[in-house]
Symmetry: C2
Subunit: 340 residues, 2 copies
């Protein structure tokens, strides 16, 4: 089967690899019908994370169940399914509390690689959610978004306690930040301030529900958020980048007692303890427990209440994966979908 | 009047100073009937924070209102009052949201100095709470504790979301940590693990509701907490020290999705962003909004439902303030009360 392999920074190839098989009785094998390139795939692509050996890529996926292990009961061959980027057992205390992304038996799907014709999904019962009915093309794209970027943006908005009466600031205008805006809007936020310098992303931000755009960054950006909120700062801030600057900006833009939901994978971030102490914000984030939100998100998508799939502004066959990575790296594309 | 002045590390004196007067119409002047020495007073005493000039000390207090400014309406001369260690207006959006310690007009009472016969209390209406009835001697001590250590421990327990069914770990066995135990117990925690190596403090911890004691620290301490919680970690952790070790310990001892309430004033703490990201805990803390809890705490004290005043294990007249500091520095006393 075809699979995307990263050989080093900037070096992505599509190669023939063996088709996966059931290893554990709790596994399923799915035929991937669409996958995509994640902002986090760009860290190794840009050489910020090491690529020590040729590495299978991809952790977002939708597809049709081809085969199941003998301990799989809730998912059947032929089901059209969506799963999270972390496989989880669904039964441990951490999963039961809604933190499936930190399941004690978690398997990062990035270690499996879903930019491929087929993928082995560990812990299938706990990980996969069946989609009822036949999704349209637009719904299909949105279901793929639910697998990570929508689920992650949603978690960020929930972690930031976006809701009625709240002013929500969003740091980061990638797919996750943009879908954080969509989530904040759905959760009832009164005002949503998107921090973005790119006209096309500003437009998408407004389409998803942003009421204000702030182009300034750093201290100036924080100053603008304060100005827009009577000097207090945002009630809720979504951080969707993962750099020192973005984390500092998110914490400083939030009022005392407010909530920061951070989902950008931290790269070289060190938080000053005293600064955090006197900020008096709530800080919560990490790898999003997408599985918690999947049933609700699938329902919203299949009833056309949300259309997160519009973040895919580049759709190419898997053979053109190298171009998909390049386009995202060069910011010519916000989010690239790979068809199979 | 008499006031405690710190001249440098280890150098605390009681000196005659001018009696304070009303400056702003929102001020009150109180006759302090008891004050105390805070763990945070030990930072400059130990030379960890600089003492740049002779400095008035103290930010915890109870007393009787002597004089009020003309804009004070809710407090009257003769009232017996308790206030927080931060003066707050009670009306701004931050106060209204329950974060009075970060009021936009906040005045740190440490800059006023309450280890003295009299103290000027800014923003008296927003800051002071009248105590109805005549407290007993034990209740008086407890009311003084409410001014900071009890209120701070309470906030830590609330920030850590201590409650029914929860296992709460407490890092720090000073007065705040101990009263965090009391708070967690009152909030309904099922199990409370105190981290302490001192027999006398372990005894007080058990008196306040601790069900388990862990003497190990660092990675070993974290390992013990994990062992005691089925490998998951605590649901809620109270951090009441403020060092790198205590913060790391608190975060690592908490399960994914759990809550860390941190109230130790950070000294040299740097939090690793990636570690925090993958911990997936909720982190909330800072200077405790004691004022939020005062009415409830006063009620619990005046109805003898809690007796936090037992943390005072050294009671001396203000003239002996130097000995009070020394005893706390040498850990001969957990918490010293100064009578006036």
């Amino acid at each position: 089967m075809r699979a995307v392999i990263m050989h080093g920074p900037g070096d992505v190839r599509v190669e023939e690899t063996p088709r996966p098989t059931i290893i554990e009785p709790t596994d399923a094998v799915i035929r991937v019908t669409a996958a995509c390139v994640c902002g986090s795939d760009l860290w190794p692509y840009r050489g910020i994370e090491p690529v020590r050996r040729p590495t299978r890529m991809g952790h977002e996926y939708i597809g049709i169940v081809e085969e199941i292990g003998e301990a799989v009961h809730d998912i059947a061959v032929g089901d059209f399914v969506v799963g999270s980027f972390v496989a989880s057992d669904g039964t441990c205390e951490i999963c039961q509390a809604g933190y499936e992304s930190r399941c004690i038996h978690q398997v990062m799907m990035g270690s499996v690689g879903t930019q491929a014709d087929f993928a082995r999904i560990p812990l299938a019962d706990g990980t996969l959610v069946k989609v009822e009915g036949t999704p349209t093309e637009a719904q299909t794209r949105s279901l793929l978004a639910a697998s990570d970027v929508l689920g992650t943006g949603w978690f960020a908005a929930v972690a930031a306690e976006a809701g009625p009466g709240k002013t929500v600031a969003v740091v980061g205008d990638g797919a996750v930040g943009l879908l954080g805006i969509l989530a904040a809007k759905r959760l009832g936020a009164e005002r949503i301030i998107a921090m973005s310098r790119h006209a096309d992303r500003q437009a998408l931000a407004r389409q998803f529900g942003a009421t204000d755009i702030v182009e300034e960054r750093g201290a100036e950006g924080v100053g603008r958020i304060k100005e827009l909120t009577g000097g207090y700062g945002a009630h809720s801030t979504i951080e969707a980048v993962g750099t020192q600057e973005s984390m500092d900006q998110a914490i400083q833009a939030t009022r005392p007692g407010g909530h920061v939901g951070f989902v950008g994978v931290s790269h070289g971030v060190e938080l000053d303890g005293l600064g955090l102490f006197f900020s008096t914000v709530h800080l919560h984030g990490g790898p999003a427990p997408v599985r918690r939100f999947l049933p609700e998100l699938i329902d919203l998508i299949m009833t056309d209440q949300i259309d997160p799939g519009v973040v895919f502004d580049l759709i190419v066959p898997i053979e053109d994966a190298a171009e998909a990575y390049r386009a995202m790296d060069e910011r010519r594309a916000t989010k690239a979908l790979l068809t199979l």
